[in-house]
Structure formats: C-alpha cells, structure tokens
C-alpha cells in the first residue's frame, strides 16, 4: 500500500530508527512500510496516525489497494 511515511518522517527530521523507536517496532518494519512492501495492522496504522497527528487516510493511500490480498 502506498503511503506518505517517508515524507512525514523527513518533515520531522527523524531517521527510520527513530521513527521505529517512537512507534515501538523494528527499523526493518519501517523500511518495509515505506517501500509499500507491508501493510500495517490497524493498531500500528493508528499509532502512526496518532504520532504524526494526521488521519490514517492521509498517511496511507486507500486508492493504492488493488483488492488482492497480500
């Protein structure tokens, strides 16, 4: 799923490791999310939403979902 994580992270001047620490995941997970290789659970999506102070749909692009399961 496409998302704006990389842009939002850059706006806050955070490294991937810093963002990972802030939401309590591994850096590998942030890398996979930013590359769109992994779609987060609702819980993680809401944690990111809360951290960036933006609604989930402003971070993750629902239009990029092709309807096929991962």
């Amino acid at each position: 799923m496409k998302n704006r994580l990389k842009v939002l992270r850059a706006e806050n001047d955070w490294t991937q490791a810093e963002l990972a620490d802030r939401v309590g995941v591994a850096r590998q997970t942030i890398v996979a999310l930013e590359k769109g290789k992994y779609s987060p659970s609702l819980e993680l999506a809401f944690r990111l939403s809360k951290l960036f102070g933006k609604p989930v749909e402003q971070i993750f692009d629902p239009e990029s979902v092709d309807g096929k399961p991962e």
């Binding site: 806050n12 802030r22 309590g24 995941v25 590998q28 996979a32 590359k35 290789k37 987060p40 102070g53």
Partner: protein, 146 residues
C-alpha cells in the same frame, strides 16, 4: 514538532520493545546453550561412568537431561515471538510454517526409501533438518519485505 502526540514522543525515550525482546532472547539463548553443553557433558559423563550399571529408568532420566535447556530455548523463542512487532512475528511464523512443511515433506520422502534404498537415520536428523529449513526460510521470507 507541531501536530505530534506528546505522550507518544515522550514514550520514545523508553527502550523499544522489539529491541528489548531481541536483547532478552540473545541473553536467554546464550544461557540456555551454555546449560545445554554443560548438561550434555554431565549426562554423558554419568552414563559412561558411575551410572553405567544404574537401572534403565535412571539412565533414561539422565540421558534426557539436555532436554531441560532445550525447553528453555523453546521458552526463549516463544517469549521473543510474543515480544517482537507484527512484521517480525509474521516473518518468523511464515518461516516456521515453511520449515515445518519442508521438513515433513523431506521426512516423508526419506521414510519411503529408508531401509530399502537409503540408510536408516537417527530421528535427530529431523530436528537438524527443521532448524536448517527454518534458517533458510527466514532468509527468503525476510527478503519479501526488503
């Protein structure tokens, strides 16, 4: 840092739970493996020494002593899996499933030819095969998300 939830930012000063889970796992794994080597040595020393003439029941108990640290490793793996984040857990669960399937297939295939066309092997090889398959599967499953 406008628009950022302060309580979450403050939470960032605490140690990342994934890192903590990994650190705890490595410590528990190291202790368990040390205990495994020690129990192997103790078990073999007793079985080939003072317990050579002991009752078979006691010999079984002593021979199975190294199973205790193996159970500790199992506990460490379970705690690690419960402590990591959703993607790491997914990678590990997928890898375990693939390793289990591959091991079952190989064990079934070998079972069909064992004795007649291939030498009888120790059941220990199933364990070794599973661990190797887990390692290889982890490598390939992880690549899916890189």
């Amino acid at each position: 840092m406008s628009g950022i939830d302060d309580s979450l930012v403050m939470a960032s000063t605490t140690i990342n739970p994934v890192k903590r889970a990994a650190q705890r796992y490595f410590i528990e794994f190291a202790i368990s493996m040390t205990a495994y080597v020690a129990t192997i040595w103790v078990s073999r020393s007793l079985l080939y020494g003072p317990m050579r003439t002991a009752s078979p029941g006691w010999q079984y108990v002593v021979a199975l002593l190294p199973l205790v640290p193996i159970l500790l490793v199992f506990g460490a793996v379970v705690r690690y899996m419960l402590g990591v984040d959703e993607l790491i857990r997914r990678i590990q669960v997928d890898s375990l499933a693939l390793a289990g399937g591959a091991t079952a297939l190989m064990a079934a295939a070998y079972g069909l030819i064992e004795g007649d066309y291939a030498p009888k092997l120790s059941a220990w090889w199933t364990f070794v095969t599973f661990m190797m398959a887990w390692l290889i599967a982890s490598f390939f499953v992880r690549r899916r998300y890189q």
